[in-house]
Point group: C2
């Protein structure tokens, strides 16, 4: 196994390998959404400012290359998954009352909640419309099934707010549905739309994507608890404020002495927002942060194991390097 590539170098290598396809994906994305209404144009130009890592399009394109070749269908699929992801971000910001994302005001802050709801819908319907421009219903079906699961994950997460007994297994299931599922479909579709793909490759890349997504989400949840807003560029602490339990807290509540647990739950129930600093101190003194990082690392390792069945190539190497980035990133 290689050492983690520096992020900047990683991005350069991705650019080198799939840069033109990513560029084409951006063009497809913008063409699909372009609209004569100045209001719609305004909204769309606003959200391009908080589109970020483009992890999902990159996953589609690298999976395509690792399995065979990038075809025009891939750039469409890449734009579709990015559009769905953007739709969920816009709606997530409503659910979380988030004020900033990628250093920019969220749609609900800049306009209002109603506009966020409708803009999210607009992105969803355009994503499916774009998927239907492919020559069969295969991608529509897979993406449809996948987004169905994403919604269930999000619904369950809302439902479990304030449940201080949420188990680790339930947490893993929620993040599998709300995050890992879409990454899984990126790997699968990237591979299955490549020419002459070897048997087993779409399945391996699907499971790679799923494990990578799990690892990414755990790291994201760690950042929400312990990160710095100046670095991440988004409102942090909203999990805690919304009484949304994530791995470090779940682990801490399951392992700390009963009396400490009761006191912590009471203080969180009273005012989750204010508890972030004192909770952080408690977490740092325990091994719960370390445990969570280790879990993220475990999923990253699992992702690398799924890659072992894929023949070596620069694309496969980058997929492997992404698993290191998933765990160690600070934004």
């Amino acid at each position: 196994m290689t050492q983690p590539a520096a992020e900047h170098e990683l991005l350069l290598r991705i650019e080198e390998l799939v840069g033109p396809a990513l560029f084409e994906c951006e063009a497809v994305f913008e063409r699909e959404l372009s609209h004569p209404s100045p209001f719609v144009t305004d909204l769309l130009s606003h959200i391009t400012r908080f589109r970020g890592k483009r992890l999902r399009p990159i996953l589609v394109l690298l999976s395509a290359l690792a399995a065979g070749e990038i075809r025009s269908a891939h750039t469409i699929i890449a734009a579709v998954v990015e559009m769905i992801h953007t739709a969920t971000l816009v709606h997530d910001d409503v659910l979380d009352d988030a004020e900033i994302r990628r250093h920019v005001a969220t749609v609900n802050t800049r306009w209002n909640v109603e506009t966020s709801v409708l803009l999210g819908d607009f992105l969803f319907t355009h994503a499916f419309h774009l998927a239907a421009s492919l020559d069969s219903t295969v991608a529509c079906r897979l993406i449809g099934a996948s987004t169905n699961r994403v919604c269930v994950g999000e619904l369950t997460q809302i439902r479990q707010r304030g449940n201080f007994d949420l188990s680790e297994a339930e947490y893993f299931r929620i993040i599998d549905e709300k995050t890992a599922e879409l990454c899984a479909v990126c790997g699968e579709l990237g591979a299955s739309y490549a020419d002459d793909v070897s048997p087993g490759v779409p399945e391996a890349l699907r499971e790679y994507g799923r494990s990578l997504g799990m690892s990414f989400q755990i790291a994201d949840d760690l950042l929400d608890l312990t990160g710095e807003e100046t670095e991440t560029g988004k409102t942090l602490g909203s999990d805690l404020e919304k009484q949304k339990l994530t791995l470090p807290l779940i682990h801490y509540l399951a392992t700390c002495p009963d009396r400490q647990r009761d006191a912590l739950v009471r203080s969180l129930q009273e005012d989750c927002g204010k508890s972030r600093e004192s909770l952080n101190r408690q977490l740092r003194e325990s091994d719960s942060l370390e445990y969570s990082r280790w879990k993220a690392e475990e999923f990253a390792q699992q992702a690398r194991r799924y890659l072992e069945t894929i023949k070596d190539s620069p694309a496969r190497q980058l997929l492997e390097d992404l698993t290191y980035f998933a765990v160690r990133r600070e934004f």
Copy 2:
């Protein structure tokens, strides 16, 4: 032209002609959404209580019969459009802060706004997933394009809140997008998925659906201003409360003397909610309500003209009768 059929008799005749297909459409709808999670089941059983007229599935099925035969694809398409319509209702209740719909608490009242947003998303993604079970991408593409327009209509409507200069043309465009568009696609898909359909029939039924939808929406907007909550079973007056201008008010503001207009705009800007009764009095004393009814009637006539090219049949007759119902209904 026949006289308007009594609503009860109309429903019985619809039942007689497409009852089994409607029943199958319900089964498809429920099968697509069924989920092991008790929370999801709870949400879904709640929203079935406010599903109502089933106008859109009926449009698909009657169009299919008027153009040829009902096939299994039609029951799928009928379920898809009903699911999309339900998704927009759930999100509309968020936008309107509506508390009741069909005599039942809205999702945002019974649960919360977050749950409404996600349940709407869940319905959208399932609708597209279900559409992808058809054997080609034709329906996915048409439904995708149609829902894109629906979202733009809704976005424009939000944007135009509080604009007391909204023109009649802009209003017609908004309701064409947010309501008539989906009715148009019902007529078009109903016809084009029938066997051996004659040339021009899908287009005629699409434009029939569009005109019917326009007529329906104008009648709906009239009800929101002048209807009784006990009869309609939903929160009324929300258009006014949200400073959402509809035809009667647009016409009144455009035709009343300047001084009266200025006073009215000031009072609406101050507190739209409280103005409903006094505004109603002013509207009743003017010809703006009559004008709006006449416009709804004009679209209904236009819908009937599109039917003239379709060969006579019990289904065509029912489509014609629906145009009378659209204008005269009180719920």
